[in-house]
């Protein structure tokens, strides 16, 4: 099936992670133009090195989840609507592996501020930019941890759930204006933090009905589908892609 797209520019939050880079390659190969966010020069260089084969077919933007003002650099005044994103794919999420009853007040506040409050601000800015075109698709990369958190994932899953709620409401509120949302809940992915976790807990694979982790390219293909016109009627919804983990009672 040939996927068709109604837009071109894809803003990717958390642009330095392995899945974002893998998605960027898929997007470029599908004729789309990824704009990857990074919080510093090191991240920018990492993106540029990773995508060096695609020079001129992507760009990077500065965005720091602990700095609300950095959103203004994404949409400076007088920018024409054509430079606004047609799609948003949100991979960004801070790491806070900690037992709920053991975390400090400061770190709890900071984590929720960066991962929920800031996200509300960026969603607001992107949605308003899309409103100008009366078209847009936002995709949040959540996690199956919202259904089946491991120990220490309380803050992570709470902020993922809160973020899903924000995306869901954008889809409800702006669907009539052509702006729709989907949250994807992948299970164990063989990339980044997921890969490290699987290495340290190798029996975990046995708990997955398909007996393997999901490849980053599989996540990228799924995202591509959800950005395409073929998936246009999915809106304000959470899709689980976990190889069957959440359907099973079986745990280690």
């Amino acid at each position: 099936m040939q996927l068709k797209f109604s837009g071109n520019r894809v803003l990717i939050l958390g642009g330095t992670c392995e899945m974002a880079l893998c998605l960027a390659e898929h997007l470029i190969k599908s004729g789309l133009y990824p704009v990857l966010s990074t919080r510093d020069e090191k991240g920018k260089k990492h993106i540029e090195d990773s995508l060096s084969a695609f020079d001129g077919k992507f760009e990077t933007v500065y965005l720091n989840f602990s700095d609300v003002d950095s959103i203004k650099t994404l949409f400076p005044p007088n920018t024409i609507a054509d430079s606004h994103p047609d799609y948003l794919v949100d991979f960004a999420h801070g790491d806070l592996e900690s037992l709920v009853a053991s975390e400090t007040t400061h770190d709890i506040d900071l984590y929720f501020s960066e991962n929920i409050s800031f996200r509300a601000e960026i969603i607001k800015a992107v949605a308003r930019a899309m409103l100008k075109k009366r078209k847009g698709r936002l995709m949040f990369i959540s996690s199956v941890a919202v259904l089946r958190p491991n120990l220490g994932q309380g803050f992570y899953s709470a902020s993922k759930l809160a973020s899903e709620a924000l995306y869901k409401n954008i889809g409800l509120e702006l669907g009539s204006r052509g702006i729709t949302t989907v949250s994807l809940r992948p299970g164990y992915i063989d990339a980044g933090r997921g890969r490290n976790f699987i290495k340290q807990n190798n029996k975990i694979i046995e708990t997955i009905p398909i007996k393997r982790a999901i490849e980053p390219s599989e996540v990228a293909e799924t995202i591509l589908f959800f950005l395409s016109e073929s998936a246009r009627n999915f809106n304000a919804v959470e899709i689980t892609m976990d190889g069957g983990i959440s359907a099973s009672k079986y745990t280690l």
Partner: protein, 139 residues
């Protein structure tokens, strides 16, 4: 371009109505059947057309009733304060509104109209744009 004419054009496009249905004195909610999403869209358009920062709460007088309640509370218990001049209080919150318009609004709220009746008129939005455009040019 004349600010009113532009706002009229934007509104007509968003609401899919004829321009002549919109005058400066048109009540935005009561007469036009506007929904909050329409206003959000209007705010985005105004921001882009006039290049001003639009604060939705201010341009659409969203906290007006809260401010009127504040005034009523302050004036009910004058032992705690010297009382509150409603016009001056609202003017501080919404500097773009004329005193004449504020008096009209207070009259609407306190008397002739039901407390939940719509207040916002097209001319209030025009005044907001005019005020902030002027402030921006001066700075």
């Amino acid at each position: 371009m004349d600010i009113f004419k532009k706002i009229q054009e934007l509104f007509a496009e968003i609401l899919d109505i004829e321009r002549n249905e919109i005058s400066p004195d048109t009540y935005i909610f009561g007469a036009l059947g506007t929904e909050s999403i329409d206003l959000m869209e209007l705010a985005v358009e105004i921001n882009s057309e006039f290049n001003i920062d639009v604060i939705d709460d201010d341009i659409f007088l969203r906290r007006l009733r809260e401010y009127i309640s504040d005034i009523q509370t302050k004036n009910r218990d004058k032992s705690q304060s010297e009382g509150c001049n409603p016009v001056a209080y609202i003017k501080r919150k919404y500097p773009f509104l004329s005193e004449k318009r504020i008096i009209e609004i207070i009259k609407d709220i306190e008397g002739e109209l039901d407390f939940n009746e719509p207040i916002l008129k097209v001319k209030d939005i025009v005044d907001y744009v005019y005020y902030w455009q002027k402030s921006q040019n001066q700075s």
